[in-house]
Symmetry: D5
Subunit: 91 residues, 10 copies
C-alpha cells in the first residue's frame, strides 16, 4: 500500500551542533537505505523549504509507523500522512 | 489495516425529498451490511452533529476507497481519513 | 458514555532524559491499567506521528477530565475531545 | 453532565418564507420548553451574530444528540459541542 | 453585561516549580473571590484539557479587561472573549 | 462601551436585482442615521474588499446586538465582534 | 521541473447529469493522454475522498498552468500546487 | 504606494454563459488599460489556479479600493490585500 | 492614508525583568508621542487580551513600516495590517 | 520561471547578538548580490511586519531551492512558495 507523507523539519536553534550534524547524517543514510529496498519510493524536496514530500510503499499502517518513527530527525518533525489508493484514471 | 474516518454530511436543502429519503435509507442498509461483515468495525455519532466517527478494517487504501466511494451519501460528504497503527501501549 | 480523544505529544527536546524516560514509562503503565479496567476502550497510534486516537468509556465529563489529567504526559499534550453518541445505523 | 454548544444558523436566502417563519417559531417553542424542564440551562445570543452559546444538562452524549437533532433549525446549523467538567476552582 | 471567555493555560515546562505552585494557588483564590462577588458567574473545566469556559458579568469592556489582566496565570494564557447578549428565546 | 465589528458582505449573485438595490440603499440610510446619533463612531472600508471595519459605542452587548441585527444587509453578512477597552497608553 | 498538485473535485449536485458524465469521461481521456506522454508522471487517489495527488513534469509554471486549465473538471476543482526540487538524500 | 493583491475567481457554474463571457472580456480590457497607465504594475497567474497575484501602484487605500471595485469580476472574487513598503535590502 | 493594525504581544517568560520593564515603558512613551502628533489616531485594548487594535494615519506603506518597526515591543509582536479606505456610507 | 516567495523572519530573542548582527548583514549582502544578477527580481517589505514578498526568476524548483537554502536567515524563516505563470491579460 502507498502513503504520501509530508515532513517539515524544525531543528531547535540551540541544539548541540554535533548532535545536529550526526542526526542529519544518520537521517540521510536511513533514507537512502529505505530507497534502495523500495520502501521509500519517492523523496522530493518541497522547493524553498525544509520539508519533503515522500511516498512510501509498505504493508500497512503499522509498517509505515515503524519506518517514520525510525527517522533520526523524527523528534524534530511535523508530519502529515495521506493514505493513497489506485486512481481510476491511472494507466 | 485500520483507518479512522470522520464523515460530515451536508445534504443540500433543495434536494428532492424522495431522493433524500431513498439515499439515507440505502446508506443505513449499506452501513449495516459492512458492520455485519466486519469491515465497518466502529460507527459512532459525533454527538450533536450530522457527522460520524468510524473505524474500518480493510486490506489497504484501495479497499478503503472502494468502501467509502460506495456510500450512497458520499456525494454529500466531507471526509477525513486517518491511517491507524498498533499503539505500543495497547494491550 | 463514550468520548473520542486525540492526543498529540510534544515533549520539549531539552527535557531531562531521565524525567522523560520515567514519564513515558508511567504513561504506559497508566494506559494499560485503564485498558484493563475498561475505561480506555480503544488506543490506536495515528500512523507516522506521535499522536493517538483513543476512545474512553466513562460516566461523564468529570470522569473523563480526571482520567486525562491523570496522564503522566498530560503537560506535554495537545488534546482534542469529541463527545460520541449512538449512531442510528450502528448494529 | 454539562455540554457547551455553539450554534451558528445559516438559513439559505432562497428558503420559502413560510417554511422559514414556521421553522423559527417551532425553534423558539422547542427552546423554551427545554429551558423550562432544565435541559437547556443557559441560552445566550453571541452579540451581533446569528449564533448562540448554550449550556445543556443531559445524561450523556446520546441525550445531547437527541436534543440537538430535535432542533427545527438543525438542518441549517453549524454546531460545535464542548464537553464540560467541574472546575477545581469553582465554588 | 455578560462575556464568555475561554482561557487555555500553557505554563512553560521550565518555569520554577515554586513560582508555578504559588501562581496556581493565587489564581484559585482570585477566581473564588470573584465568584463570591458575582463577577465570575460560571466557571467550567473544558473536559480533558487545561482550559476553562467562563462567563463574567461586568459593567463593560474596561471592567472585563481589568478582571482578566488580574488573573495570576494571565501571562501563560491564550484567551478568547465573546460578547453575549440576551437571546430572544431565553426565558 | 466600544466594540470593533468587521462585516463582510456576500450578496448571492442570483438575488433579485431590485431587492438588492433596495437593501443596499436602506443599509446606507441606516448607517448614516446611526453615525449621526453617535452609535456608529467609525466606518471604514477595508480597501479592495466588500468588508468594513466599524467601531460602535453602545451600552452593552444587547444594544450592539440590536444595532447589528437591524442592518438591512445582516442576512448576507459574516460578522466578527471584538470587545474593546481603554488602553493604558491611550492619551 | 516537477510539481505536486492536489486536486479536490466538488461537482455541484444540480449539474445536468449528461454534462457531468461527459465532463468526467473527457477528464479521464485527458489524464490518460498526459500520462502516456510523460507529463502526468504520478496520479494517485487520496483514499476515501474525491481528491487526487498528482506529480507533473513540465517545463515551467506556464506549462503547468496550461495543463491544469485544460482539465475538463477544472471549473469544479480546488487546486493546491507545490513546486518540487531534488532532495539531497534522494538516490 | 504599492499593494500586493491576490484575487481568486469563483464564477458560479450556473451563471448565464453570455454574462460570463462578457464579464471576462471586460475584465481583460480593464486590466490591460490599468497596466498601460502604470497602475497595475505586475499581473501574474498563480500557476494551476484561477487566481492571480498582482501589484498595484496607487496613491492610497481609497485609490486601491476604487481600482479593485472597478473590476468586472469583483463580485465573484475572494481578495487579499497586502500593503507593501520599501525593503531595506532592496537595491 | 489610514491603516488598522492589530498587535498581539508575546513577551517570553524568561526575558530579563529589567529589560522587560524598560521596553514596556519606552513602548508607552513612543505610543503617546505618536498619538500627540496625530500619527497614532486610535489605540484600543482588545478586552481581556495583551493585544491592541490601532488606527494609524500615515503617508503610505513606507511610513507605516517605519512607525511599526520603531515600536520597542516590535520583536515580541504578531502584527496584522489592514489597509483602509473611505466607506461610501461614511458621513 | 517566476516564483513568488513570502518569507517571515522569527529570530529567537535569546540568539547571541553578534551572531544575529552578522547573519542579518550577510543576508543583506546575499539579497543585493542576487538582485544585481537578476535572480531576485522584486523584494518588498510587507508593511509593518518582519516579512517580505519577493519574486525570483530561476530555471526551476532546484534552482529556487538552492537560492532560498542559501539565505543566511533561512533557519529562522517561515517560507511560502507560489509558482507563477504568465497571465492571459498581462501586456
Amino acid at each position: 500500500m502507498l502513503f504520501a507523507v509530508q515532513m517539515t523539519v524544525n531543528i531547535p536553534h540551540d541544539l548541540d551542533p554535533e548532535v545536529r550534524a550526526d542526526t542529519v547524517a544518520r537521517e540521510k543514510a536511513y533514507a537512502q537505505e529505505l530507497q534502495r529496498d523500495g520502501t521509500w519510493k519517492h523523496l522530493w524536496r518541497i522547493a524553498g523549504t525544509y520539508s519533503n514530500l515522500s511516498v512510501f510503499e509498505v504493508a500497512d499502517g503499522d509498517a509505515l509507523n515503524d519506518v517514520i518513527w525510525g527517522l533520526p530527525l523524527f523528534p524534530y518533525m511535523d508530519i502529515e500522512v495521506t493514505a493513497l489508493a489506485r486512481h481510476p484514471s491511472a494507466i
